[in-house]
Symmetry: C2
Subunit: 346 residues, 2 copies
């Protein structure tokens, strides 16, 4: 197979320890020997075996990223941020899709632990399921960062401030004169879903608008879910004048359903999505959306995790990082096409 440290040591006429010193930039290796060793390494294009290093050092330089579905644009943006921040520090990331399957997430965590990843970034599945595997991580002081709260578990966390995002979005609908405002929630299992619902309700309350339960529609996270929610909206006795959706996909599906029934956006119904997916500004009716800094979430999570890995102080207080969302107002809330168009170009 390929060269080993012993080969290099032999050729350079030094011990393996010395070569190891050179490899790790150990300051107490003579300048001359270092140069000589380096030359040999270069000449034979020797590359240290990271597996062996990992075993000896008891750290792999690997971090695990567990999300539900990497094909969800939000998660893939987060993954990008994670990978970027990790790559800068020489860490590689192993991904694990749990495909919405709780058992699979548990199995994945087990595998990654056996692989001795130095830490984990986890988007926990559903509320109301058994989270003892996460609790166990905590007990073992295995470094990890969550991307969503788990009730009853105090741990490092990075996420967007959903509630405020939904609040501001709803307030904006009110400001442009809408009063009958509906909300399409996400999956019941998602904590973000509840928080956004809270933000929506708080905004209504603050504006003295009565909450109407028929305006809260259980949705989901995909286009289809939005489409079906749209069908429900159509059938309402009084059509809402504004709808806040769980995410952009839901908003897009919803708009499709409304438009199919001759509903005009935004004249009849104003619509707001969530996430800030790139596509939103290029839709035929550009979508107003609450943008989340997805990539930054990934970066921050990775940085926090690497910090935990590096200073392995036990018993630090968990850090909770909430990143601001940003309301981007576009045509589905009445902005002129020309204006969107400008923003598209810049």
């Amino acid at each position: 197979m390929s060269m080993t440290i012993s080969d290099i040591a032999k050729m350079a006429g030094v011990s393996r320890a010395t070569v190891s010193g050179v490899l790790n930039n150990n300051p107490n290796v003579g300048k001359k020997t270092k140069l000589r060793v380096l030359a040999i390494i270069e000449k034979y294009n020797y590359k240290p075996n990271e597996v062996a290093r990992a075993l000896a050092r008891r750290q792999t330089g690997l971090i695990g990223l567990l999300v539900k579905d990497i094909s969800n644009p939000l998660y893939s943006q987060i993954a990008l941020g994670v990978e970027d921040a990790c790559g800068k520090e020489g860490y590689s990331v192993i991904m694990g899709n749990s495909q919405k399957d709780h058992d699979r997430q548990i199995a994945n965590i087990g595998l990654l632990k056996r692989r001795r990843v130095d830490g984990l970034i986890i988007f926990p599945l559903q509320k109301g399921v058994d989270h003892s595997h996460i609790r166990e991580l905590k007990k073992e002081a295995y470094p990890f960062v969550l991307l969503a709260e788990i009730p009853g578990i105090e741990a490092d966390l990075v996420r967007a401030d959903d509630e405020n995002g939904a609040f501001e979005a709803t307030r904006h609908l009110i400001q442009i004169g809408r009063r009958n405002i509906a909300c399409v929630t996400g999956p019941v299992s998602a904590m973000a879903s509840d928080r956004r619902l809270d933000g929506y309700q708080n905004a209504l309350v603050q504006a003295n608008i009565k909450l109407r339960s028929e305006y809260v529609i259980r949705g989901g996270w995909r286009y289809e879910h939005g489409y079906h929610a749209g069908k429900k909206v159509i059938r309402m006795k009084t059509l809402p004048e504004g709808v806040l959706c769980y995410n952009d996909s839901v908003a897009i599906g919803l708009i499709r359903a409304l438009v199919e029934h001759g509903c005009r956006i935004p004249d009849d119904v104003a619509v707001i999505g969530f996430d800030g997916a790139p596509v939103t500004s290029f839709l035929q009716t550009a979508l107003t959306t609450v943008a989340q800094p997805a990539q930054e979430i990934g970066v921050k999570a990775a940085e926090l995790l690497l910090k935990r890995i590096t200073n392995k102080d036990d018993n630090v207080i968990p850090e909770k990082i909430f990143l601001e969302t940003k309301l981007i107002v576009r045509e589905t809330c009445g902005v002129q096409a020309a204006k969107t168009h400008e923003s598209v170009l810049k």
Copy 2:
């Protein structure tokens, strides 16, 4: 730290070798001892250290996936397929985003090799750049599968049949009576871009339609690129009656630009995208698209790679797998809304 095989051996009153045998389902371990060892393993919840195993076995159970940008829906779908197929066989996947940066892809390959991943799945960057790192992989007989051809390198490959996809799409435009048909190409560096252009041109030639170079617009792969291409289309002396786009994002951006200028889709211009992104069926004017079996590409690539890893015969002839695309005709080609709508629901 955690338990080791020695601990288990001690507690079970056997040697480490025996425990190892149990762990690996080695047939010649007595049933009784096996059960006893298993009980101890269970009791102490012992999990073997995969790093140590990897070192001893000279295989990590890791495979590397190198794509340009995991946040591109097409790649994330592929990644999903790869992860799925690998997971089934107990392999984990390390991802590496090259961010369109060639040096970074090279560095990533280097790192993954040092980490001793058992194989690589690579979406090679650009044509016309130096591919000696890939050539080196081949020389070393390091298992890898490509997701796009590299001129001059014979290697295992899995990709969609772009040319035929573009051909059929163009033919469809002709069949619905369009003759002035434009083509928005992808990035010049992408091989798929050329192949799709070929398919487009072949279809025109077959229908005895003169190729007009002004109808070939250099585009890109993102919404913005499509938007700008749309602006160019608008300025043409004779507006094309149909446009084949490099991918769905480009098509969406293009449509936005056309619609901004009062162009009616599909009455004035019919549009076809490529990839089959989920969003396409939910757009206000549902997009006709050439769907690629992205996830299947990932699965097939992983399966092929694992096959190579397993039967390490040297000198096998490279396998080239081309997966069929599927034209999904929708409103941007004149299908009635009601019809799309049905397909949306199913």
